[in-house]
Amino acid sequence: MIVALILGFALLLIGIYGMLSQKNLIKIVIGFSIADTGTHIIIVSIGYLRNRTAPILNSAVDISKAVQQVVDPIPSALVLTAIVIGLAVTALMLSFVVELYKKRQSLSIDDYQELKW
């Protein structure tokens, strides 16, 4: 499903663009999250095979021919992990944002440049 792939890359680029262009810390995290979603869509679409069903071998699928009937389970498995990890990272980032805001009362990334050179 090439459309999904394109969509995934588009979201990835939008997310990265958001990270690069937005000054607001929360928006940067939003950008990261969008990019993450994009990546996940890319992964899932890689695993897709035309006209096949989900890799759940219940009565709807002929078990002996399952290999010809289901989509690739591996990307799905990977994405599952990736989503959870994405959540973890996003949550941690947000807690950093909260703490940063506590210290300086600003959400602009430009205000956190005391370390340089």
Binding site: S33, T37, A54
Partner: protein, 83 residues
């Protein structure tokens, strides 16, 4: 073919939503919009034959993440109000 059309429609909505989310001044709205992207993504996963992923994305990607975002925003605002 139907699925492709759905994906295209959803995709366009998602991309627009993505751009909008980044440009909204209102953070609350931005977070909700970003959450919507995830929600739509889970529909796409369903179409792509990955119900597991769809469930996960719906619950974690759009649900929990959005809530955490909102909590974070809430804390920031509270911090602001306190001072």
């Amino acid at each position: 073919m139907i699925s492709v059309t759905i994906i295209i429609v959803l995709g366009i909505i998602m991309i627009v939503a993505g751009i909008v989310a980044l440009h909204l001044k209102n953070l609350l709205a931005a977070i909700i919009t970003a959450g919507a992207i995830s929600l739509l993504a889970s529909v796409i996963y369903l179409i792509l034959g990955s119900p597991d992923v769809a469930m996960t994305e719906a619950s974690i990607g759009s649900g929990l993440t959005t809530i955490i975002f909102l909590y974070a925003l809430n804390r920031v605002r509270k911090e602001n109000k306190d001072d």
